[in-house]
């Protein structure tokens, strides 16, 4: 897990050496190659005669990564949020590795499973940051969801949809989230596809992993 990011960066860096033929915005040292990170912004210059070995590739990758981390001091937000609020991780699909067909050709790879897991978890963890922050929720009175729902307790997402007489219609989880944002939290309601709404739903559902669906339950 820890070593993979630089490996991936090294690969991209090596591959992109060829693609870095276009002159970069800053004036390059004469005869040096410019290697670009996959963010298309971060660059390092490499002497033209640098041997194309894995060791040199790693050096380039490390240099790029160091620059990127300096530019993105919040890059450990997932680990930090998980340490504080212990978001339930998603289903581990590693038993599928080597079987079936993935989204690309061939069997499911460890890389596939890792991407599924990382991306899914990241959405729930982002939701946890919103859930725990009155500022992110736009609260006018410094109230956040966790004040009444520590670790999303008593949010019972498995009971939706259900008819809510106060709302005058069948409520989905997102309707209740918006009700809470509007009333106890006193913030601005979110559009159903707002990234924060999607993240909040992800977090709340993640915390109830394994609970049977029971729509309509009071």
């Amino acid at each position: 897990m820890k070593t993979t990011p630089w490996l991936a960066v090294a690969l991209i860096a090596l591959l992109s050496q060829a693609a870095a033929a276009n002159p970069p915005p800053s004036s390059p040292v004469k005869g040096a190659k410019v290697v670009k990170l996959c963010d298309n912004k971060t660059t390092v210059q490499v002497a033209a005669d640098t041997p194309q070995t894995p060791e040199e590739g790693k050096k380039i990758a490390d240099a790029l990564m160091a620059q990127w981390q300096a530019k993105n001091p919040d890059n450990k937000w997932v680990a930090e949020e998980v340490e504080a609020h212990q978001v339930v991780p998603p289903e581990d699909n590693s038993k599928l590795i080597g079987t079936g067909q993935s989204s690309t050709y061939g069997a499911v790879s460890a890389q596939d499973v890792k991407v599924w897991n990382t991306e899914t978890y990241k959405e729930a963890v982002y939701g946890s940051t919103v859930f725990h922050s009155g500022d992110q929720l736009g609260s006018e009175i410094a109230v956040s969801c966790d004040m009444c729902h520590p670790r999303a307790a008593n949010t019972h997402p498995e009971t939706y949809p259900k008819f809510q007489p106060t709302l005058g219609r069948v409520a989905l989880l997102r309707d209740m989230i918006n009700w809470c944002i509007e009333h106890p939290v006193r913030g601005k309601v979110l559009a159903p596809d707002d990234p924060k709404m999607r993240a909040l739903e992800s977090y709340i559902l993640a915390q109830r992993k394994g609970v049977a669906l029971d729509y309509g339950k009071r």
């Binding site: 009175i141 966790d146 009444c148 307790a153 809510q164 009071r218």
Partner: protein
Amino acid sequence: MNDKRIPHIKSVETRYFEERDALFRGLQRLDRRTFMKVSTGAAAAAVAAGVSYHAHTFLPINVASAAEGGGARQEFTFAYISDSHLYAKKTNERFVRQLLRAVDDVNALDPQPDFVLYGGDLAQLGRKEELDLGAQILKSLKAPVHMMVGEHDWFFDMGHRWNELFGPENYSFNHKGVHFVVLMSVHEKDFWTPRGLTPAERMHTVAGLDNAIQSAFEVGATERAWLKKDLEKVPTSTPIIVFSHSPLYKLYRPWNFWTDDAEDVQAILQRFEHVTVLHGHTHQVLTNRIGNIDFHGMLSTAWPWPYAPQGLPALTVQMNRPNPFDPNDGLGDGTATVHPDGLVDKLYSLWNRNPMAVKASYLRGSSQQDAPALPTLASY
């Protein structure tokens, strides 16, 4: 909304049963001779023995018990308000209004309670303006106030402002033959120095109930030594009532419904015949009994907590799951009635709902009839 507190509107039936209870409780305290007089309808003699009559039902409702055991202890009541979590007024006026409502509740009690316990977490982030605002609001209580500290009052300046306003965080006093102890139970082992947190960051971490970075609550060795010394000369027959912000037992660690050295504190209290602990922090109806110690939670005026997913004491009858469409549901204040024998009946005066009484007779297993009503909607 009708601001005349719901707990004071009692049905004829409720009043009848309360009067009946009071009568039988009173009769138990009479000697045989007085009992004969009462039972044969010698009203005058009964009045002379301290039995008064309710004008409406002509049932005796109050039997003076001061005479018992040479006039040692009488029944009395104190009220509580807890966990108001005030921000500055301009940040959040809702929590301010809710505390004002509780103050009105207590001021409307007739007769007035002997004193009011404030159960901790007066402030949300331990700031001076929050604590000052709380102190100012609590000044309007008619009855005297005993303050207890909570973690939200403490971890910004480590109790500095709170101590300035309210005095030491550990103290004891005697009232009508009962020994009261107010205990600071929310110390935490230093998690902030290694992480290089600022006071505001430290406070913010502790303020998140589900924040796993903080340490467990504990009374600590110094406070335990103080408690031991304080109780040294108190006879074992003296009823003890302890106020602590965290429950003095281990319920659920992830939310700090927990005191890490609870067993050590319980051991200090074990030699007394009757011990009752009233705690804040959990924002819910919560009941437990360990050995000779009865435990009661307190309601919050700010927001209710759900019940912990594990570790709920078997004696706890849950309050109804708060309805998110009903503002202030699951919140409130309440009273505790201390009987001459030192046992405590706890009343949770839930706003917008019927009050819940958790009686010593239920806790001690002597009366199944006194068990609180089960909730229609329990916690998930």
